[in-house]
């Protein structure tokens, strides 16, 4: 079976787009709607949220159709997406990554740990939640958050 045949046979497997969520109070960082370039940083999570983010950008949920895209370099990004509590080892890299993202930029905290510290909140290797360390413009609670919730948060920024 050639790859063209395979593409035709499988077809499109993305779920139908749910209804448009309410626009966020946060304006799209570039000042232009419909597009958001995201640099993702795992500040010390258990990887549960990372798996959900992987699903968000996978073929089923397909966040790219709403204009959100993961990029490899913070220099290309408008948004910093963080999962997990901020551990001591990751505090400085997180700050460096934020500093490397050109302004205007937004910070999206994904998961309970990122928002409040979650079950790791008072651990000896933990500096604090993302909100405490660098601040967060958008928070997506959940342990882990459902992909639909993450997508809703992203769509609230892109407006698509």
């Amino acid at each position: 079976m050639g790859w063209l045949t395979r593409i035709r046979r499988i077809g499109r497997i993305a779920e139908p787009a749910p209804a448009k969520p309410a626009p966020s109070v946060v304006l799209p960082p570039t000042g232009r709607k419909r597009s958001l370039q995201i640099r993702y940083v795992d500040a010390g999570s258990c990887d549960g949220c990372a798996i959900e983010i992987g699903a968000v950008f996978g073929p089923v949920y397909d966040a790219e159709r709403y204009g959100a895209r993961l990029v490899a370099s913070p220099r290309h990004a408008d948004a910093l997406m963080v999962t997990g509590v901020v551990t001591r080892n990751m505090e400085q890299p997180l700050r460096n990554t934020l500093a490397a993202i050109p302004e205007p930029r937004i910070i999206i905290a994904v998961g309970d740990c990122a928002c409040t510290g979650g079950i790791f909140a008072d651990g000896y290797g933990v500096v604090g939640s993302v909100r405490d360390v660098i601040g967060a413009d958008i928070e997506v609670p959940g342990c882990p958050p459902r992909p639909e919730d993450i997508i809703a948060a992203l769509r609230s920024v892109t407006g698509r």
């Binding site: 940083v41 370099s73 913070p74 220099r75 400085q92 890299p93 997180l94 460096n96 990554t97 500093a99 490397a100 302004e103 205007p104």
Partner: protein, 688 residues
């Protein structure tokens, strides 16, 4: 015999402590760094200026004489009093005029440059005296009108350049480089001597003009022998294989103005010899002549560029690049010879034009390259690319000047070497070969070799410029360079201007090339001004238009990027992105070695690098490694596998001859007597 780089990375070496500590990695294998230059006093201002002025004056004479020769204003001159018995015959032909012009173009900036260089690098008064004589000797070679004058000038040029190479003889690498240069250049001279004597004896005259008239009457074997001997002999001066090994040794060790003169002008005289004998005196001979020259040229070009791509010493890299470029010139001459003997005169003229133009372009960009390498050496004390870097922020003018040279050497548009390489490819592509299996085989292979050479040439120059001048300094010397003296910058600017003119408006060389080509036997029909319109070929290139287009494009981009600048946030300066980590160190940068590593891997079979990992295991356990050392040495393959057997044979022969040398004076006298007697008897018998 280890030729150059030996990098040993010890696992036990202490890492640089903190950002403030000078970065010393790799360890100083560099002789210069290990042993400071001899504390000889710098020559006085007067001596430096006198030497520089004399060099400039002789260069200007060369330009004037060359121009006069090309418009046909010069007549042969014979100075009987100058040298006993034979006199000196001067006859500057238009072809020689082109080379006199070239020598002048090289000598003037070198003269200006030497004033500053001699102060910082302590060139001795003796070297300063010999420098103008060297330039004059080169001019004499281009103006020689007879065999004895030519040989005399050639030997004068060889001897003066040897003295200059040896100038810094207290550094340990210099004597060895000098010996290599002396042996190879004298070997070449011997072959040229033999060939020219054969030629003069065959023709019955030693005047080049008369030889040219009589050359067609010479027997075929004489012509062929002369050609082969001169091919090897002049090839040794031009840095062609197999007698190229002096270049990568002598050029790095000679003072930089001398390297520039040798690589820009003297090496070109090797090509002058080839063109003079092969294309002017003997004419386009049988087709195998052209094929020989073509094969040697293509092999030299490929070998030179490959060796340059793995060289880490900047001046050694430039020296190998000289072998590459002279290879391309030889390809051009070979194609001209081959096509002329196949009856394709017009295309042959294009190939010859390409070769001559490439010589001029090479003289310009390689002179600039060596001068700027010398400026880097004078200001940082470094020659090793692995220890340079960050110079663009510290000595920006030198960086820009080296950039012009590198652009020229890489053969890209708007570089000095572009038009000539383009012409060479045009001549190859437009040599259609109906019913000619030889050309049908040779031409595509040559196109492939030239294309590969050009491509790798870009890699070489990207490496030299990127690793050497950009990014962060890799050594204390590169971190804190001394300012480059103004006279050196002035000298480099002069030759950089020549590079830019050659790149943007190569048409200025058109009259000179046209008149030089008239002297060669590749043009049956009178040529129009070459370069403006290629004879018989529908190909055009206009570097000036390219340059103007680039300028307009840059202006457009600048204008567009200024659009909406008010609504944008203010620019900020932020640290380099290091994947979130702190503390980027110069150790994380590409080095010249690591940049060339993929190429070294691909061409492993040709380059045969000597690399290996040596692990010292802990005596207690074989799983614990006490010390690790990585070894990477790049040797010259041809030198190692070609020269060593010959040297061994010579040594064995010397051992045999030694048996006759017992130390007995009586025996030596007997040898002398016997020798004299033999000569007398032979001459007696021969005269009967």
């Amino acid at each position: 015999m280890i030729t150059d780089v030996s990098t040993v990375i010890g696992a036990g070496t202490t890492p640089p402590a903190g950002a403030a500590a000078p970065f010393t990695y790799p360890p100083a294998t560099h002789l210069w760094a290990a042993e400071p230059p001899t504390p000889a006093a710098a020559p006085s201002f007067l001596a430096r200026v006198l030497s520089g002025a004399a060099t400039v004056a002789i260069g200007a004479t060369g330009i004037a004489a060359g121009t006069a020769a090309m418009i046909g204003a010069l007549h042969p001159v014979t100075l009987d009093w100058a040298v006993p018995l034979v006199g000196v015959d001067l006859d500057l032909t238009p072809l020689g005029g082109l080379f006199a012009l070239l020598i002048g173009i090289v000598a003037i900036p070198v003269g200006i440059y030497t004033v500053g260089y001699a102060r910082t690098q302590h060139m001795g008064r003796f070297s300063l005296t010999v420098l103008p004589i060297f330039v004059a000797a080169m001019l004499l070679v281009s103006a020689a009108g007879s065999v004895p004058t030519f040989l005399f000038a050639w030997e004068l040029m060889a001897a003066t350049s040897l003295v200059l190479v040896w100038a810094d003889h207290r550094r340990p690498a210099v004597p060895q480089a000098g010996v290599f240069y002396a042996v190879l250049t004298q070997l070449g001279f011997m072959l040229i001597l033999l060939a020219l004597v054969l030629l003069a004896a065959g023709a019955g005259t030693d005047n080049f003009a008369d030889i040219a008239a009589l050359a067609d009457t010479l027997p075929g074997w004489t012509r062929s022998t002369v050609f082969v001997l001169t091919l090897i002999g002049f090839g040794s001066k031009a840095g062609l294989l197999p007698l190229h090994a002096w270049l990568p040794r002598a050029h790095p060790e000679a003072p930089s103005p001398v390297s520039a003169l040798m690589s820009g002008a003297m090496v070109a005289l090797g090509a002058y010899g080839l063109a003079r004998i092969g294309l002017q005196l003997l004419g386009p001979g049988p087709r195998w002549w052209g094929l020989c020259l073509l094969a040697i040229g293509a092999a030299s070009a490929l070998f030179g560029v490959l060796s340059a791509s793995v060289a880490t010493d900047l001046k050694r890299l430039l020296a190998y690049s000289t072998t590459e470029n002279m290879g391309l010139v030889a390809v051009g001459l070979g194609v001209a010879m081959l096509l002329a003997s196949s009856g394709r005169i017009q295309i042959a003229a294009i190939a010859a034009t390409a070769a001559l133009l490439h010589l001029v372009a090479h003289a310009a960009f390689k002179t600039l390259g060596f001068l700027s390498a010398g400026a880097v050496l004078a200001s940082t004390g470094e020659r090793d690319l692995d220890r340079m870097g960050g110079l663009v922020h510290r000595i920006p003018a030198t960086t820009v000047l080296f950039g012009i040279a590198a652009l020229g050497a890489s053969g890209l548009p708007l570089g000095a070497g572009f038009v000539s390489e383009w012409l060479l490819l045009q001549s190859l592509i437009h040599s259609p070969t109906p019913n000619d299996p030889l050309l049908a085989l040779a031409v595509p292979m040559t196109v492939g070799a030239v294309a590969l050479t050009t491509g790798l040439g870009v890699v070489v120059m990207v490496k030299a410029f990127g690793v050497g001048f950009l990014a962060r300094p890799r050594s204390a010397g590169a971190a804190d360079p001394l300012p480059v003296p103004r006279s050196m910058l002035a000298g480099m600017s002069v030759i950089a201007a020549a590079c830019v003119v050659l790149a943007v408006a190569p048409v200025v060389m058109s009259p000179a090339l046209t008149s030089a080509l008239r002297g060669l036997r590749v043009n049956a029909a009178p040529l129009g001004p070459v370069l403006l319109r290629l004879p018989g070929v529908a190909g055009t290139v206009a570097p000036a238009v390219l340059g103007a287009g680039l300028l307009i494009a840059v202006l457009l981009v600048v204008l567009i990027s200024r659009h909406g600048i008010r609504t944008r946030p203010k620019p900020v300066t932020s640290p380099l992105w290091a994947c979130g980590a702190d503390g980027l160190t110069p150790r994380m940068q590409y080095t010249a070695t690591s940049f060339a590593e993929p190429l070294q891997r691909v061409f492993d079979g040709v380059l045969r690098p000597d690399t290996g990992l040596e692990l010292d295991r802990h005596p207690g356990s074989q799983y614990v490694i006490a010390h690790a050392a990585y070894r990477a040495r790049q040797r010259d393959v041809i030198e190692e596998h070609g020269y060593t057997p010959v040297l061994r044979a010579v040594r064995a022969l010397a051992q045999v001859v030694r048996r006759a040398h017992t130390g007995s004076l009586h025996l030596y006298l007997a040898y002398g007597g016997a020798g004299l007697l033999t000569v007398l008897i032979v001459s007696l018998v021969a005269s009967r």
